[in-house]
Structures are given as structure tokens and as C-alpha cells.
């Protein structure tokens, strides 16, 4: 036995789903994460909180570090804190990790953290290691909370 036609019911659900989808598209990538607003796409850069905030000591996006502009600050799911810095046409990340996660010596370190650099974008761009180390030095100073620590 056939059921009576009632196409408007599934059509209504489909319409609601389409409206919700359209709201996503119109709203773009801006969304609120539990830790505050994100920038540069969903989950691309979560603002630091708790311990991470203490590490940055007020570091903000747009700030200059040894001539490089801070693009975004990311607390990655793998527990690594990344500070993305950039200049026109090139971008890379300074990484701050707990010691003991990697067997080799880090380029820079503080009492509590090891500092690395990497994630060069685009991959074939050139990054002068001295410039990268200058940024790490600047971050290390900030982490230590001093103006001129080694």
C-alpha cells in the first residue's frame, strides 16, 4: 500500500539544511572557539590561554620580532606552541616545546622550553638562519621575562 504524498516534509528539512549551509558560506570562516575568536580560518590559530599566555608575555599578532611580523599564535594539538611570523612572500613558525620531545639540541632554549624554527612557506623560499635565530632569541628573552638574558 502506498503512503500518501508528503514531499513538503523532507523538502522542508532540506530547505532548513540549505539555509544553515548558506549561513556558513555567507558567514565565512569567522567563528568563536572556546578559547576566543580564531583568525586565518577555522582552527588555524587558537589564541593562547593559561600557561601559553604566560609564555608569550603579552605577545600579540601584528607585533614585530627582530624585523618579522607576528602573523598568528597557535597552540597546536600536539602540545607545541607556534608563533607564525612573516614578511611579504615568506612565512615560517617559531616552535616552543617542552624539553625532551626531540633528542637533538635545540637552536635556542630557556630553562623550561626548547625553541625551534621551521614550517617555511612557501617551501622553496629562502630563510637566513641568522634571521630565524634572531627571532628565537627575541622570543627566548620574552619567555625568560628579562630584557637581555642569554
Amino acid at each position: 500500500m502506498k503512503t500518501p504524498r508528503c514531499a513538503w516534509l523532507p523538502a522542508l528539512v532540506g530547505l532548513l539544511a540549505a539555509i544553515r549551509l548558506a549561513a556558513d558560506v555567507v558567514g565565512g570562516d569567522e567563528t568563536e572557539s572556546p578559547d576566543g575568536p580564531t583568525t586565518g580560518g577555522r582552527n588555524a590559530a587558537i589564541r593562547p590561554h593559561g600557561e601559553a599566555m604566560a609564555v608569550w608575555r603579552g605577545l600579540t599578532e601584528g607585533e614585530k620580532l627582530a624585523g618579522w611580523t607576528v602573523d598568528c599564535i597557535e597552540v597546536a594539538s600536539d602540545g607545541i606552541l607556534r608563533v607564525w611570523v612573516g614578511k611579504p612572500g615568506v612565512r615560517w613558525a617559531a616552535e616552543i616545546r617542552r624539553p625532551g620531545r626531540s633528542p637533538g639540541p635545540p637552536p635556542r632554549s630557556t630553562d623550561e622550553f626548547d625553541l625551534y624554527y621551521g614550517n617555511l612557506q612557501p617551501e622553496d623560499a629562502k630563510l637566513d638562519p641568522a634571521e630565524a635565530l634572531a627571532v628565537l632569541d627575541s622570543l627566548a628573552q620574552r619567555i625568560r621575562g628579562t630584557d637581555g638574558g642569554s
Binding site: T3, A17, D78
Partner: protein, 554 residues
């Protein structure tokens, strides 16, 4: 009983031709084989481009190669997935590409088998499950990846096909072998064993289910010279090595946002499966449906309760694929026979709530798009257009494949971006990489450098993680020479020349040895930081990888 399939169709030559074409595409027995041929062609392309190169797939290749070299030592090593290794041993002897292509060919049989089952179960469009199975993003990726989850799909639907056509004892044999293919398939064995208990004509399936493990156990006694070998040397560790942190990571279930992508990567028609009218299903179809539902619940939701855990990779849900596809096909059959029931809208509304939740949680809007498509199909069915709904469903499924492939978590570029960067660095610094050992914990480095990147030959040595070494020691029999033989076979059948944890000491390595390291909690177990840090200097660093050089001995 079937009613008329359509309502007031437009008349004329073109609509008539389209209807004839639709009927042929939906039910002609050759169509699933054509689809399988397309699947194989795409799969071969993916094998040759290494798009889905996978360390678990390589492991299946190495196990099969080991069995070719030492049949008895490996066949009675349960960890080696002995029945699959036996199946693929000749292909593995021909090299990795031949092995992976053989794997794609075997996976392609899932489509025709699903169609054959649908034909026996009197579905209106028996070729529909074949399309849904072969256009599954997960199966498209798993075939050329070489992972055993794809074999599980084929064997599961093979068992059901045999049972459906009355060959109950052979079905039992296949089911009995599933214990040694993937442990999670025990749920399918239980579902069909329950059918054997309650339905007299299926009773002999129980004989087959018991016969295969029993025969394997009895034959193994001759090799192991131990009555209890099958429990003494199980297929996997019954309790993890407490010193190895990787198990903590594995015990962490994926977040709620992982469920939607995984289900759509299984098949975008998953919503159609829920709309099937379950209580009207014949007993065997009901059993397989119960398996599919129970399996998806067990693998994707039970880990949230912390009660039990499988791996969180989407590929683990693959064995449910043919039965989800058959349920979706049953929905279309019902729509043809009886129209679209009103309660479908309630299900669709539920899906909409879930899709909204997934989008808010993880910013993944694909499920919302799927709800739009499912609703359109249901609306067409309400308007007595089930054939058009099926055609649109197929078109949407096929069109969504490229967008859903990343959700399979099997593309090497997505899962191991460190490979391209690290290999590019080695290629850019040939004077550093040449004529010295390159030690690595990246399972795919040697294969990727040689096959994918075409890098000049480098002497890669693979650091054996302590958990793998522990497993080999625990799961092999030392009293009959099995453990020594397996360790010896590793020299030829491993990601690269193995370096075991006890041999990995700075003093044992030449100065200048390179380390290409990816972040992995297990590394600390074989390269403790305090021991190694004084000996290593960083040459390059990336997102999750580093290249280090062994400098001095202190």
C-alpha cells in the same frame, strides 16, 4: 510484493530511452563488473602515484613477503594475519607495486559481490550497492593503500553472499577465517552465528565458523609443539607494555567532529541506510544490518565511554560498507514499492540536528550538504520518482568522492607532510646524505624517497620502535626457532634495514651518521634525550621533523 515503480512519468522517445538506460544501469549483471574495472583502473593509477602510500599497507606487504620466504614460521605467527599473508604471498614476491595492484583487484570484488547479494535479496536496483561500495572514498583509498581493512570488506560480503545463495558451510569457513583477518570482524561472525542458532537452514554456518580456527590450531600444534600455542602466542598483545606511551595516544577517541567525516567517507549514502524500514527486513538482511549498526556504534561511539577502544582511523569502519550500501539500496526498493513514508522526515530532521552540531563543533559542513541531498531524494520519492532519486543519489555519491577523500585520512600528503619536506632537504644536500647511514623513525621514508620522490639511493636504517620489538618478542615462540627466524626475516622485509633498540647507541654508529626524525613519543624509549642530546647537532628542522647529525663521541 512490488508496486509500480513510477508515477506520472513524461512520455516520449527520450524519457523512454532514459528509463531503459536507468533500468539497464540499475540491474544488468555486467554493470558491477564494469564498475569494478573502473575501480581497478583508478586504483592502479593511485598505486603508481603512491597517493595512498601507507605504513600499515607496507606491513601487510612485508608479512606476505615473509610468508613466501618462511611459510611455516610466518603462517603460524598470528600477528602476521596468516590467511591474508598466504593469499598475497605470490603477489608480494613480485614486488610492492604488484602486491598493491593485487590488493586493488581483490578489493574491487566487493562491488560485484554486493550486487549479487542485492540480486538474491530481490532489490529493485541490485547494482546500486555496487556503485555505493566502489565509490566509497574509504575503499577507493584503502585498496591502493594495501591496508587489510579493504580485505575485510571483501571477505565479509563474500561470506554473506555465500550464505544468501544457500552455501552455508562455505560461508561458515569464510567467517571462521575472519578471526585471523581483523579481530573486529568477530562482530559479523557473532551476527551470523546468531542467525545460525535461530534459523535451522543456517545452522551449518556454525560448523564452518568453528572448523577453521580449530584446523588452524591443530595444524599449529605440529609446528609449535605446544597444545596451548594459540593462546600463548596471540595475534596481538593482551595487555600493552606499560613503558610505551603510544597506547595512551591510541586510547584517546576521536572527537565528535570526527564521526561525521568518517561516516560520509564510508559512503555518502549512509543516511539512506537509516531510512530503510528495518522491521520489514528478512532475517539475514536484518542480521547484517544489525552488524553494520552495532559495528559503527562499537567503533565510533563506544570509545567515548572509555569502555572499549579500536583505532580511531576512519578505515576501521570499512567492514560495515557493503551492508550500509545494501541498506541504502533497500530504502530505494521500499520507495519503489510503497513510496516514501512520512517518518523519513523525522529521521532527516534528526540528521539535520547532528549535522548542525558537527558543523559547530568542528567546522565541517559536508554533513549539512548531505542532509540537503538526502532530503531532495526523499522528496522525489514522495513524488513517486524513486528512479530519479536513485539516479541523483548515484550522481551525488560519485561527485562527492574528491571532496571526501581527505576525510579518509589515508592520503600520504595529508597524513605525512613531513616526508616531502625531509626528502626534499636530503635531495638538496646530496653531499650530506651520500655515503653515510640515514637513521629514521619515519616508516615511509625509504619507500617514499626511492619510489615517490625518485631520490638518489640513500642508506636508510629503520629505528625499530620499542613497542614493535616488544610485540615480536611476546608473540613469537622462541622454543621452535620462530622468534629468531622472524627477526632474521625483518632484515629483508621491513621498511628499511632495521636497527633494533638495543643496538642503537651513539658509540655503535659512525660519526656523521644522519638522523631523520619525526616527532613520536615512542622515540624517547629508544633514544633517551639525556643520552643522545650531547651527540647530536641539528642540521634542519620542520614542522614535525628534524634532521640531525652525529658529531662526537663523549
Amino acid at each position: 510484493m512490488r508496486g509500480p515503480a513510477t508515477g506520472a512519468w513524461p512520455t516520449g522517445a527520450v524519457p523512454r530511452a532514459l528509463r531503459t538506460l536507468g533500468r539497464l544501469a540499475g540491474s544488468h549483471p555486467l554493470v558491477p563488473w564494469l564498475l569494478a574495472a573502473v575501480y581497478v583502473s583508478i586504483g592502479i593509477g593511485n598505486v603508481l602515484s603512491d597517493t595512498f602510500l601507507n605504513d600499515e599497507g607496507l606491513l601487510a606487504y612485508y608479512f606476505a613477503g615473509m610468508l613466501w620466504d618462511a611459510p611455516f614460521h610466518v603462517f603460524f605467527w598470528q600477528k602476521s594475519r596468516p590467511f591474508l599473508s598466504l593469499l598475497y604471498a605470490p603477489a608480494a614476491a613480485g614486488g610492492l607495486s604488484i602486491f598493491l595492484i593485487a590488493h586493488v583487484v581483490v578489493a574491487s570484488f566487493a562491488g560485484p559481490l554486493a550486487a549479487a547479494v542485492a540480486r538474491i535479496w530481490d532489490h529493485r536496483y541490485p547494482n546500486l550497492p555496487a556503485v555505493l561500495v566502489l565509490a566509497s572514498p574509504l575503499l577507493i583509498a584503502a585498496g591502493p593503500a594495501g591496508v587489510t581493512n579493504a580485505d575485510a570488506v571483501v571477505l565479509a560480503v563474500l561470506a554473506v553472499w555465500l550464505a544468501a545463495r544457500g552455501q552455508v558451510l562455505p560461508a561458515g569457513f569464510v567467517l571462521g577465517s575472519l578471526f585471523f583477518v581483523r579481530a573486529e570482524l568477530t562482530l559479523l561472525v557473532l551476527a551470523l552465528a546468531a542467525l545460525g542458532l535461530f534459523e535451522r537452514r543456517f545452522r551449518r554456518v556454525l560448523v564452518g565458523i568453528v572448523a577453521v580456527p580449530t584446523a588452524y590450531w591443530l595444524l599449529g600444534i605440529l609446528f609449535h609443539r605446544d597444545l596451548l600455542w594459540i593462546v600463548r602466542y596471540p595475534p596481538s598483545l593482551t595487555s600493552p607494555n606499560p613503558a610505551i606511551p603510544i597506547f595512551e595516544q591510541m586510547a584517546t577517541p576521536g572527537g565528535p567532529g570526527a564521526v561525521g567525516p568518517a561516516l560520509l567517507a564510508l559512503t555518502p549514502a549512509v543516511g539512506m541506510a537509516v531510512l530503510a524500514r528495518w522491521r520489514r527486513l528478512p532475517p539475514m538482511e536484518w542480521s547484517t544490518a544489525a552488524f553494520a549498526l552495532g559495528f559503527l556504534l562499537a567503533l565510533r561511539w563506544i570509545p567515548f565511554l572509555g569502555a572499549f577502544n579500536f583505532g580511531s582511523s576512519p578505515r576501521y569502519i570499512l567492514p560495515a560498507l557493503p551492508f550500509v550500501a545494501l541498506l541504502a539500496s533497500r530504502t530505494f526498493t521500499r520507495w519503489c514499492d510503497a513510496g516514501e513514508p512520512r517518518w523519513s522526515a523525522a529521521w532527516l530532521a534528526g540528521f539535520l540536528v547532528v549535522a548542525h552540531w558537527v558543523d559547530v563543533q568542528s567546522g565541517w559542513p559536508w554533513l549539512l550538504l548531505a542532509v540537503v541531498v538526502w532530503s531532495v531524494l526523499a522528496a522525489l520519492a514522495s513524488e513517486r520518482r524513486p528512479g530519479l532519486a536513485a539516479a541523483l543519489g548515484v550522481a551525488a555519491t560519485v561527485a562527492s568522492v574528491p571532496g571526501l577523500l581527505p576525510a579518509t585520512e589515508l592520503a600520504v600528503a595529508d597524513m605525512h607532510p613531513e616526508l616531502a619536506s625531509a626528502v626534499a632537504w636530503l635531495q638538496d644536500h646530496p653531499q650530506v646524505a651520500r655515503a653515510r647511514p640515514v637513521l629514521t623513525n619515519m616508516h615511509l621514508l625509504a619507500t617514499y624517497a626511492r619510489r615517490t620522490a625518485g631520490a638518489p639511493p640513500i642508506d636508510v636504517r629503520q629505528i625499530v620502535p620499542s613497542d614493535q620489538r616488544f610485540e615480536i618478542a611476546e608473540l613469537t615462540n622462541p622454543h621452535v626457532g620462530q622468534r629468531d627466524r622472524i627477526l632474521e626475516l625483518l632484515d629483508r622485509h621491513y621498511y628499511a634495514t632495521p636497527v633494533h633498540p638495543d643496538a642503537l647507541q651513539p658509540e655503535n654508529l659512525p660519526q656523521g651518521a644522519l638522523f631523520v626524525i619525526v616527532d613520536d613519543a615512542r622515540l624517547e624509549g629508544v633514544m633517551p634525550t639525556p643520552r643522545w642530546r650531547p651527540h647530536l647537532e641539528t642540521l634542519a628542522t620542520g614542522s614535525r621533523w628534524r634532521i640531525l647529525v652525529l658529531r662526537s663521541r663523549r
